[in-house]
Subunit: 78 residues, 2 copies
DNA sequence: CACCATTTGTTCGTATGTATG
DNA sequence: GCATACATACGAACAAATGGT
């Protein structure tokens, strides 16, 4: 284990940075919860929670049964 | 079980509405996680998660060991 | 100072429901 | 029907901070 595992907040920030950098472009599908959990060496729950944060911020849109996609709009939240 | 329990998102929205309505004023301390869990008939985890959402939105500020307080500023988030 | 109860904040694992293909 | 994937709830556990005794 790489010392301390990343928190869901850290993971959300990392993904957020990758979206800003263009690594993940609008319309792109993010890795699945299971894959994210693997990637960041955290549990499924923690990976899901990181994505939930991004969803709340309007950066990504979850589509049950299909995946999580980077939002097209730059933003807009309420 | 009272039909369907409220989701953390629903609870966050309810508390948010109570802040907007003035039921909870800036500086006020919200009920503790344990009390919120009791109030909304959900688990501790779910109550804590609802508050986490409000924290992320800048509506409240958590103070470990003391409580959660309604933010003074109307907002500002990044 | 030492305890101790309370409270925030988080992780994890398991389970369930729903949607998609 | 089935496998995959999102979305959420729950309970147990723990760390850290605070405040009172």
């Amino acid at each position: 284990m790489p010392a301390i595992p990343l928190s869901y907040s850290d993971i959300a920030e990392d993904i957020s940075a990758r979206i800003r950098s263009g690594e993940y472009s609008p319309g792109d599908k993010l890795p699945s919860y299971t894959q994210l959990a693997e990637l960041y060496s955290v549990s499924f729950s923690t990976a899901a929670r990181a994505v939930a944060l991004l969803r709340d911020r309007g950066l990504v849109i979850g589509a049950p049964g299909r995946g999580v996609f980077v939002a097209e709009q730059p933003q807009s939240q309420q």
